[in-house]
């Protein structure tokens, strides 16, 4: 049995007296599509932050692709192939849309030896990524000229541009229309078919169910379910804590 | 060889008295920076302003400086409101606090100092009051009243503010606005108004701190800058926004400064505070009573 791409082992995080994460155990296999759901405040974003290195977990270990992550800074994890998008889009306001995509290309892809990265290839990649999310026509625009939806796509595109092995999409579809949600899900599945492992964190159940091969549920900092999506949503505890609301 | 115990004890006492005063100076920053997250590096400028106002009214009308500070409290409060309005409209609302807000307050600091130089010149100014030249003596202990009186007033100020923040509705709203603006507004309290009140209070404390300063030492316009390091060192060391923490940190700094001054000379004193600050920032930025 091959080792999981991501292994989260007894990870805990507190903010003062508040326990945000309480001994989380989670594994993600290479090439898997994992969905992560839970009520607001359950610790999903904190978990993402601990995985990506934006926050540091006080207890437990995060292991990615065989590398122990504890103590590694966010940019180091990105270089190793772990990328995330932010729940609230955080574009670089003084750069154009294309330049926003260029940043991870210049700073992450260029470090990687397993991905092509001459100047021409990077430029080609930039246009490719913009095309994938449908933002090519806005390449020269500033983030402030984008609609909410387009900003979310830019956020996702920026994470994709880093050529990740694992992509964490943190509520990337909030506020999108039904067809837009379908588009993004299709995009993520296509990325997955190219070999990228994806963790999808979402509230939109149609997206979660159509996307996930496996589903985990977080409530009040604890994982209360983890398994086949159809089984998980029928779990009475999950219904009570989250779905029943 | 005779270890100068008496000298040490006097330095210790002087340090405690000084530290108490430092707490009064810092408490305004504890509110504006520690609680409201507004980097008001111009705070010492307001303090010096308070000192000079105390000086003028003391010289012209013979009023006790502490009395003067209480009289001008409303003026400083409204000055604080005005400054906060400008700050809020220009920076906080636009989300550009970091660079521009800092530059704004630095500009205020600078302009205040230069205006004071233009109006008063660079000579040292001091106040006259009955108790300033008196020193109480208990065997080898020296208790100069010019330090004791400010110490007492400082304690009253800090204690009063702590009670205000923990017992009154407005005070608790101020503590709350630091943590959760949305929740506060849902409790029918306008966060902007609460922040403005808090900031105005912080500037008002400068009036009192200014009067105490000119009682302790003669003042000239650049003295404010010496206090920037002290004030932020104490605020950070005290855990940002915790008044009890501020008091402890202030006392600690006062003692270290006093002992350094006594045994190594007063010209090293400014470096002590700033050295403290650099070390704190490098080693334990969450402060002594850190979260």
């Amino acid at each position: 049995m091959t080792a999981p791409l991501l292994k989260i082992d007894n990870v805990g995080k507190r903010f003062g007296g508040f326990v945000a994460l309480d001994g989380i155990n989670l594994e993600v296999a290479r090439g898997e599509r994992l969905g992560l759901i839970g009520p607001n405040g359950s610790g999903k974003s904190t978990l993402v932050n601990c995985m990506s290195g934006t926050l540091h977990n006080e207890t437990g270990t995060v292991t990615f692709d065989g590398h122990p992550m504890n103590g590694l800074l966010a940019h180091q994890r990105t270089h190793l192939g772990l990328a995330r998008s932010f729940q609230l889009p955080r574009p670089f306001h003084s750069l154009s849309v294309a330049e926003n995509i260029r940043v991870p290309l210049l700073y992450t892809v260029r470090q990687r030896r397993d991905v092509p990265h001459t100047r021409e290839e990077l430029e080609h990649r930039c246009h490719e990524v913009l095309g994938l999310v449908g933002l090519e026509h806005k390449a020269r625009k500033q983030p402030k000229d984008l609609t909410q939806v387009e900003m979310r796509k830019l956020e996702l595109a920026r994470a994709m541009a880093a050529e990740p092995k694992l992509l964490i999409a943190d509520e990337a579809m909030a506020g999108l229309s039904e067809s837009e949600v379908k588009d993004i899900v299709a995009l993520l599945i296509a990325l997955n078919e190219r070999g990228i492992t994806i963790i999808l964190i979402e509230h939109i159940m149609t997206a979660v169910m159509s996307f996930s091969q496996r589903l985990a549920v977080l409530v009040s900092g604890r994982k209360i379910a983890d398994g086949d999506p159809q089984d998980v949503i029928r779990d009475p505890e999950v219904e009570r804590a989250y779905l029943g609301q | 060889m005779d270890f100068p115990v008496e000298l040490l004890i006097n330095a210790l006492i002087a340090g405690i008295l000084l530290g108490g005063f430092y707490a009064a100076v810092t408490v305004g920053i504890s509110i504006s920076f520690g609680i409201l997250d507004i980097v008001n590096i111009a705070h010492p400028a307001f303090i010096i302003l308070g000192s000079y106002i105390a000086y003028i009214l003391n010289q012209r009308l013979g009023l006790d400086p502490i009395l003067v500070s209480i009289l001008v409290l409303p003026f400083f409060y409204y000055l604080g409101s005005l400054v906060y309005q400008v700050y809020y409209l220009s920076f906080e609302k636009r989300g550009q606090e970091a660079l521009r807000g800092l530059a704004f307050f630095f500009g205020l600091l600078f302009v205040t100092e230069v205006v004071l130089i233009l109006v008063f010149g660079v000579d040292y100014r001091y106040v006259q009051a009955g108790y300033i030249d008196t020193t109480l003596r208990f065997s080898f202990l020296d208790l100069p009243m010019r330090m004791v009186v400010p110490f007492v007033i400082s304690m009253i100020l800090v204690l009063g503010l702590q009670l205000f923040l923990s017992k009154t509705f407005t005070g608790r709203a101020i503590m709350a606005v630091a943590q959760d603006q949305l929740a506060l507004s849902l409790m029918a309290a306008d966060p902007i108004r609460i922040k403005r009140i808090a900031f105005s209070i912080s500037i008002a404390t400068a009036a009192i701190a200014g009067a105490l300063l000119i009682i302790i030492q003669p003042v000239e316009p650049s003295v404010g800058r010496e206090y920037i390091g002290r004030v932020f060192a104490i605020c950070v060391l005290g855990g940002m926004g915790s008044l009890p923490g501020t008091l402890i940190a202030a006392l600690l700094l006062g003692i270290v400064e006093s002992i350094t001054s006594t045994f190594y000379g007063p010209s090293w004193a400014p470096a002590v505070a700033f050295g403290f600050l650099l070390i704190t920032l490098a080693v334990r930025p969450s402060g002594i009573l850190g979260r």
Binding site: S52, H75, Y107 | L281
Partner: protein
């Protein structure tokens, strides 16, 4: 325009200007001009960290003074060597020429910048800013207590009678040296803007968390910016003792440097190398005029008021106003910037 082309063109323009100024036969022009050139370097240096990365340095005077006092130390070394070392060794110790002193000043100030950055850049930007204030005071206290460089009494630095270059006097020589430093500083700033490093800096300014997530090594880049910025400030300060003849801590660490280093880029515009140049030339000239006609205190007051005014009303400086007025210019610059990164 490629970087080396810009460097050569600027150098030629600068030298032409120098020659032209000599024709006017007015020494005061060089005296006052030197100060303005100094400010261009300081403003450009500040902007590398402040404008490009978004980290405010309040202690510019400290880095400037580091450069100045490195020179003072070097000028005092021969006498020191004579007193404490045997003759053969002492004879080897001389005062280095100004270009070497500039490099030395840059290295020392750069190291100080690196050290300060290392201690504080892992924290929020405001703590860095406060730490730079603290640094200025600590360094000033150290210098004041150090007798070798004169302590609070100050130190005399004798200007050599003749300049190392043929046909010009010493003030003109200092002016020329500072002019070359200006060209180097501006070229460096412009080169950074158009490079991968410049992108990294911009992301730090815009959103540090997102920058980290995109793979930008923010701490490393911030340290680079701090070191470069500090180094240039030190280089600007190195010739200062020769210019002024008598150096004391209160003038070396003067508040004028701290305020001008911030005001000039912020009023000129922080997003490009042109801003600090513009701000320094305008404000520098304004201050010279005000000092001569009214008083130096009033000229400083004007700078302070202008800073507050611009920060509130026109946060992007004069360049920002220009871009708003001529909106299209901004878009074309964006495209040429894109092209520059592709080809550089």
């Amino acid at each position: 325009m490629r970087t080396w082309q810009f460097f050569l063109v600027s150098l030629v323009i600068a030298l032409a200007g120098f020659m032209g100024a000599r024709l006017l036969q007015n020494d005061y022009l060089f005296f006052a001009g030197y100060v303005v050139l100094q400010f261009i370097v300081l403003a450009t240096a500040w902007n590398i960290l402040g404008g490009y990365c978004g980290y405010v340095n309040f202690g510019s005077a400290a880095f400037f003074a580091m450069g100045a006092y490195t020179t003072v130390v070097m000028t005092k070394l021969p006498a020191f060597a004579n007193r404490h070392f045997p003759e053969e060794i002492a004879a080897l110790v001389g005062i280095p020429p100004i270009p070497v002193l500039i490099l030395l000043g840059g290295v020392i100030a750069g190291l100080v910048g690196l050290g300060t950055g290392y201690l504080t850049l892992r924290l929020r930007g405001v703590f860095f800013a406060i730490a730079t204030l603290a640094l200025a005071v600590v360094l000033q206290t150290l210098i004041v207590n150090w007798d070798f460089v004169g302590g609070s009494r100050g130190a005399y630095v004798i200007r050599p009678a003749t300049a190392p270059l043929f046909g010009i006097n010493y003030i003109e020589y200092l002016f020329l040296v500072m002019l070359v430093l200006v060209v180097v500083a501006l070229t460096t700033a412009r080169a950074i803007e158009r490079s991968r490093l410049g992108y990294g800096f911009a992301t730090i300014r815009d959103d540090e968390l997102a920058a980290e997530a995109s793979g930008v090594p923010t701490l490393k880049l911030k340290l680079v910016a701090t070191t470069l910025s500090g180094a240039f400030m030190g280089m600007a300060g190195a010739p200062f003792p020769y210019y002024i003849g008598f150096l004391e801590p209160s003038s070396a660490f003067g508040l004028a440097y701290a305020v001008n280093a911030i005001a000039m880029p912020m009023i000129g515009g922080t997003t490009s190398w042109v801003g600090p140049l513009l701000g320094a030339v305008l404000l520098g000239t304004l201050q010279q005029l005000a000092t001569v006609t009214i008083s130096s205190a009033v000229s400083l007051l004007l700078v302070g008021l202008l800073l507050v005014f611009f920060v509130i009303i026109a946060p992007n400086g004069l360049l920002g106003l220009w871009h708003d007025y001529f909106g299209r210019k901004h878009k074309t610059e964006d495209e040429s910037k894109t092209a520059a990164v592709k080809t550089s």
